[in-house]
């Protein structure tokens, strides 16, 4: 049944004709207890990560590590039903840092955070401070992950407290060097669990 108001079709064929916004919240995962990994798998638990949207955006809010000072917040992807999370990545990593005691400032390219055809988890943030009030936040865009033609680019930034403590921003970009559709994303700490935090997945609408 169509809903028509003043000769304007508002809803028809099971969908709204009226604009409901271009950015759709797909999934929120909030850790109720420490976890080794956080996964977003297309087709599972209401997650959509396919050609429904051309651009996907992950937002991280107050990610807190179980292990202090020596852990990095990272991500990887996989294809099909694979669970190896070892896609080939070439990436860049810029770090900006300023210690609370005004001791050091930094704007550098960091070879410790990039990859050259590597299959490791990609760093989003390095050496998280683990005090009870410390956390990191950030965002990650993945462009057209379901393409079977192009490599899959990503752009992201993580910001928050790293060890010292210091204000720290990581700006990363790169690509999964595969023409196979990505179907899943995994987030984890390089050491220890994710103690707490929320990750949201949004789809940026195609039409």
């Amino acid at each position: 049944m169509a809903i028509i108001s003043n000769a304007v079709t508002i809803a028809d064929a099971g969908a709204f004709s009226a604009s409901l916004g271009a950015m759709t919240l797909i999934k929120t995962i909030t850790l109720s207890s420490a976890a080794g990994t956080v996964d977003f798998v297309n087709g599972a638990s209401s997650v959509v990560f396919d050609d429904t949207y051309p651009i996907y955006k992950f937002v991280f809010n107050n990610m807190h590590p179980a292990t202090e000072n020596s852990t990095n917040f990272t991500f990887q992807a996989d294809v099909g039903t694979g669970t190896s999370y070892a896609q080939n990545i070439t990436s860049t990593f810029i770090q900006i840092r300023h210690e609370e005691g005004d001791g050091a400032t930094q704007l550098v390219y960091s070879t410790a955070g990039d990859q050259a055809g590597g299959t490791a988890f990609q760093q989003m943030f390095r050496s998280l401070e683990g005090d009870s009030d410390s956390s990191i936040c950030g965002e990650l865009y993945v462009f057209n992950p379901s393409s079977t033609t192009f490599v899959k680019h990503f752009i992201g930034q993580g910001f928050g407290q790293n060890a010292a403590p210091a204000a720290f921003t990581a700006k990363i970009a790169g690509y999964f060097n595969t023409t196979t559709a990505l179907t899943r994303m995994r987030f984890k700490m390089s050491t220890g669990n994710i103690d707490a935090g929320t990750i949201k997945l949004y789809g940026i609408k195609d039409s």
């Binding site: 304007v8 508002i10 050259a116 055809g117 033609t149 192009f150 490599v151 990503f154 970009a173 690509y175």
Partner: protein
């Protein structure tokens, strides 16, 4: 017809009630390149809105694939009904790079790609490789393009597989040095056509 649920108006007089959340980001227009020399967004044409309706406009471009290997994806703007696309701009350009062979890791301010009151097309994505799987992606924000008081600022973040084997992360910003309202934006390659790719234009409420 009015749709009322539990005493609350949902739909009336052809529109959703103002109390119904419709999101703050509205898709205005999608353009898809197919061996295209230019892609234009003109206020008032083909359902494009680029005026005072929104304070911020966002262009998202993805899978931009050039016909010419190493071509730059570029943009310019114009005012009124002009089609010169040569508004003076002053800009900055920072980029990080890292090769698949682990060479060339760097963070650089690139004076070869910025402009100082230049009127040329500005590089948005530099040096996109045109291997079959090569492409460029990113986002352009333009703030208050219709202002008749202020210059028009923009911010760009983009990435590509530079010449097919180097990850590049680009941070670009600047301003159109005019107090005349911008009415149109053009995208094109520095050389050759845009072989394929999609540009989406959004308004931020």
């Amino acid at each position: 017809m009015t749709v009322i649920s539990n005493g609350t108006n949902l739909i009336n007089n052809g529109t959703l009630d103002s109390g119904i959340p419709t999101g703050a980001m509205t898709l205005i227009k999608t353009l898809t390149a197919s061996s295209s020399a230019t892609l234009d967004f003109l206020n008032g044409t083909s359902n494009v809105v680029f005026d005072g309706t929104y304070k911020e406009y966002v262009f998202k471009f993805y899978n931009i694939h050039p016909a010419t290997n190493g071509a730059d994806f570029t943009f310019q703007a114009d005012t009124g009904t002009n089609t010169n696309y040569n508004i003076a701009m002053t800009t900055t350009y920072i980029r990080a790079a890292h090769g698949e062979d682990d060479s060339g890791d760097s963070l650089t301010y690139d004076t070869g790609r910025d402009q100082a009151e230049g009127t040329g097309f500005l590089q948005v994505i530099s040096g996109i490789g045109n291997d079959a799987d090569g492409n460029g992606n990113g986002t352009l924000h333009i703030f208050s393009p219709s202002s008749s008081t202020f210059v028009k600022h923009f911010i760009i973040r983009s990435c590509t597989s530079y010449e097919d084997s180097i990850a590049r992360d680009m941070f670009i910003a600047g301003y159109f040095n005019t107090t005349t309202a911008l009415t149109r934006v053009r995208f094109k390659m520095s050389s050759g056509n845009i072989d394929s790719g999609i540009i989406k234009m959004y308004g931020i409420k």
